[in-house]
Amino acid sequence: MNTKTDPDLDAMIHAFVDGELDAQSIDAVQAHLKSNPSAAQRAADYRHQRDALHDLYDDALNEPLTAEMRAALNAPTGYSAPTIWRAPIWRMAAAIVLFVAGGVGGWWGHDFTSPTTPDLVAQSSPYVNRAIGAHVVYAAEVRHPVEVAASEEQHLIKWLSTRLGRNVRAPKLGEAGFELVGGRLLPDDAKPAAQFMYENRSGQRVTLYVSLDAVPADTSFRIVERDGTSAIYWLEDGLGYALAGDLPRKDMLIIARLVYDALIA
């Protein structure tokens, strides 16, 4: 099974499987594999190992972040968890506190209302806080950023409209270079909310959150920012909208105006 072969060729087979070779070397290795079944078998086995590893562990990509990870990400700067958190009982207590806080500040357990930074979001409408939380969590998602993909846009719109009891729309943002990725249904306190996700060519994402919780008093654009994520929010026809993203403010405003125009059209 382990017949000794040329060590250089062996190394080439690994490099071939791992995509580390230039075109010329690829040809050479392929020729070698053709005439050497045991080498070809080895290459196949290495690939098989890779596939098995993905089968075994890719699920970890889709797990929600732990409360501790979210807390660390949302702490102002240089965060490090108090050592007391490491004790299981305190960890549990902390989880409960986060859960309870979630009822007020956001379902996510995001500490956006940290007392050490100006509390802009807390003063704004609660749904905006949740919109930012949902953006941070789902825009970072590698494999399942949305529940229903843009390829099923009609179904997505129908489903979300039914659940919210209002006609919702996913405006076209191609003019700003953003295409619809899809959307999902989210809890907004005790009500349903919709989130649409858009992505541009360089992989930047913005999300549009549609809430039944239409608290802002007027229809002007308001802007909040938290930890590099900003949200522009406004009220239109009894629905609260929040556009969340990490883009410069002027770009966010351009997109927000596009959304607004599309919605009133």
């Binding site: 590893l53 075994l56 970890a60 889709n62 660390a72 702490a75 590099g228």
Partner: protein
């Protein structure tokens, strides 16, 4: 984009890698990721924008793990030994795919840490040899030799398993 968000975006990969590296101990794996996350956040000022965030984070995680390992080195290693009753290995005949994956996880666990992390960084995380040499702080030649030895050992372990399907033991 804010450094914090770039880190958040890479977290799922760090978790997958840690999960595979510490197979069978998902909580330990998440603790490792948490340690790496906190250290990265403390040191964002050391990260140079435009450089490879993924490699930077894997480097931090590797260093913490290597350090943890040194601390634990004195402790006896848990192994799958011959005393496990046969019933523990009994599987339904149609679970062949699952069985093979479990063998794979167990075989991986038999490898020395250096080989395991190299294989995972290449095959699971898709890092280039050059990136891995930076993450592990070893020459590319060392990356390649660890990879070759580890993969062949995995093959041997998997093959010795499938020779006797009723007695799936890792020796």
């Amino acid at each position: 984009m804010d450094v914090r968000h770039i880190i958040a975006r890479e977290l799922p990969r760090l978790r997958r890698y840690a999960r595979a590296l510490m197979s069978g101990d998902p909580h330990g794996a998440d603790d490792l990721v948490q340690q790496a996350l906190e250290r990265a956040l403390e040191r964002t000022h050391l990260f140079q924008p435009g450089t490879n965030m993924r490699a930077w984070l894997f480097t931090i995680l590797h260093n913490i793990n290597a350090n943890n390992h040194r601390k634990l080195a004195a402790r006896p290693r848990e192994v799958w030994d011959e005393d496990v009753p046969e019933a523990a290995f009994a599987v339904a005949p149609d679970a062949q795919g699952k069985l093979e994956l479990r063998d794979m996880a167990r075989a991986l666990d038999q490898l020395p840490l250096e080989q395991r992390e190299t294989i995972l960084l290449v095959s699971l995380e898709g890092l280039s040899y050059k990136e891995i040499s930076e993450v592990l702080n070893v020459p590319i030649g060392t990356v390649m030799s660890r990879l070759a030895r580890g993969r062949d050992r995995l093959r041997d372990l998997m093959q010795s398993n499938s020779v006797t399907p009723t007695l799936r033991r890792v020796k």
